[in-house]
Amino acid sequence: MNEPTPQAPPSKEELWVTERIRAFYKAKPPCPSEVSRREFGFGFQKKIDYRHKAFNGCEALRDFLVRETPRYVSCSAAYYDLPGARPMERKGYRGADLVFDLDTSYAHELHEHLELVCPYCLNRVKQDAQQLVEEFLVKDFGLSSQEIWVNYSGSKGFHIHMQSQPVRELSAEARRQLLGYLTGEGVSLERILVKKQLGQGRFKLAGPTKASRGWPRKLYNTAHAFLEKCTVKDLTERGARKVDANKIVENRAFLLKQVEEGNWDAMPGLRKVWANLLEAAKKLRGLEVDQGVTFDLARILRLEDSIHGDTGLVAKKAGGASELEKFDPLKHALSANPKQFASVVPNSDLKFQLMEQTFELKANEKVEVPDPVALLLLCKKRATLA
């Protein structure tokens, strides 16, 4: 049997962080619905050090969190008869919540990107979450907004949850189907614009109209809006030859009418434009979702209202889609008391926003900051305690 590896004693920074996390779990212990049917996993050094833990109630979970104080707490979206059993087949799977995980990086977009936590990027992902709920889940899939809620992940993204019985029964393959629709992956122009023979050797492209549904309708909306305003330059940028682009602009009203009637081939030079617009529609309408979270029924995810060990922020329930607008994670997801202060020494120059304030800290200069700020810096290992 191997000798246990001797572990270094925790640093004063680690002890400080642990104390803050413990205080949070004492005061506000998280408790998911149907806690005894869920599998839990915990991380101290990394996100999941071990899993297959089960608790018979919220009290037991709270006791564990206060005693062990893990940095990361994860919980299954799935329900089991025996959530602590191993291997997975012995657990007795009984359905799973439907979860979508959005954490697209918008660092490439034009803005002042802040490395530690970026309000701009968070706001963009929040907009994606709103679009997912309003345009896809409610409008297209017909799910009730009452049964959808959104959680901040505690770091860079948002999770969208649904728990109703029909949703729980969805198979992994069914979840893949929903994902395929949300992302627009695999939507092809050849399936939307269909060649119809008019006579010998003559074809036209029959496409979606105002009455179409689903992705064809999304393409129709994008194309119609584009045609209403496009210039010759816009068209050439999207693949049309200049001579064709001039004709299209000159005959805009005629072309719009043709498209409204489903004839997408009324003038030459349009096919490349349509292909280009479909990609644009996918970018505009489709969403980047972490697909594994949705279809992998054995996956465990950040527990709602637990602390994210990379930031010290809470994976807080933001509420329904309507409440999401007002939710600011950098203000509403603090775990430490903002009225208490700690002295820290940053190990590099830092600029970031938290608690509606901008902090600009100099490397190696001792500074007193509110506890949530100190917690963020220590969790990120970007400062030491003074």
């Binding site: 999941i48 297959h52 087949e89 189907q177 627009g184 092809s188 399936r191 064809p216 992998d296």
Partner: protein, 266 residues
């Protein structure tokens, strides 16, 4: 055959296959039963057909020859939702599509898993018969030539940096996914099963032990599952990244930038 007798035959067949634990044979059986059942269903008077269709697809609605189905119902049995006419929670379908969905829903019902407790409590005679059946079922030694067709234009998956990274093992929570990706790579590269087993065993040994070690047996089960299937063996680089199995796309990855870049290259 009387309907009661048919039901008993179905139940014993399902129980036998579940006890034999051969998922491939179960799928084949379900597909065959679904076709037979559907053929009989088509011969029924329209009223009976409609009644059964409604039971199989509870949210089905018909209005003057056009049909609609709840999106969630469609997702359970249908394919290619992204190309369907979806609006306000319903999918608009034609008669042909409904027939196809019915066949799939019958197959899915036949494939519904049998609870472990039911298998545990099964009569001894049934268990014995399942043992005999297991011995008689064909072994799926897939000839190399039938796997995946010719290699893709970009050559071996195994030579890629991302797959080399996977071979170094994975941490708990990611081990199954990694074993699946590696198995797909092995199948794509048409590595003979025995040699593939050695590679996947080496991978399993490299994986972190965690609270429960990932055994070579588990990895080989995944490999055999993948080798039994003859669909395309594609690996999603994006999923590997999102699962945290590789840090980023390889510098020479042909899939970096998505489908469009691939098309442009072609």
């Amino acid at each position: 055959m009387e309907s009661g007798e048919h039901l008993a035959t179905y139940a014993s067949a399902r129980a036998l296959l579940a006890l034999a634990g051969d998922t491939y044979a179960t799928r084949k059986w379900a597909a065959g039963e679904a076709v037979a059942f559907f053929t009989e269903l088509e011969r029924e008077p329209e009223e009976v057909f409609k009644q059964i269709a409604q039971e199989l697809l509870p949210s089905l609605q018909e209005n003057e020859g056009s049909y609609t189905l709840a999106v969630l119902d469609y997702a359970q049995h249908g394919r290619d939702l992204a190309h369907q006419a979806v609006e306000e929670g319903r999918v608009w379908l034609d008669h042909q599509q409904i027939l196809h969905l019915l066949k799939r829903s019958i197959e899915n019902k036949l494939l519904a898993s049998v609870p472990r407790s039911a298998l545990h409590d099964a009569p001894v005679e049934l268990k014995k018969a399942a043992e005999e059946l297991r011995a008689k079922l064909p072994k799926y030694e897939i000839p190399l030539a039938s796997i995946g067709g010719k290699l893709g234009p970009r050559g071996l998956y195994l030579a890629r940096a991302c797959i080399q990274e996977l071979r170094k093992g994975a941490s708990e929570g990611k081990r199954w996914y990694a074993s699946m990706a590696l198995s797909l790579a092995l199948r794509h590269d048409r590595i003979p099963l025995e040699q593939a087993k050695e590679i996947i065993t080496e991978f399993a040994n490299n994986c972190s032990k965690g609270a429960r070690p990932f055994t070579a047996r588990e990895a080989i089960t995944t490999l055999e599952w993948v080798y039994k299937r003859d669909g395309p063996a594609r690996i999603s680089c994006r999923n590997l990244i999102s699962q945290g199995l590789i840090p980023d796309y390889c510098p020479t990855c042909p899939y970096k930038g998505g489908r469009r870049k691939r098309n442009e290259e072609q």
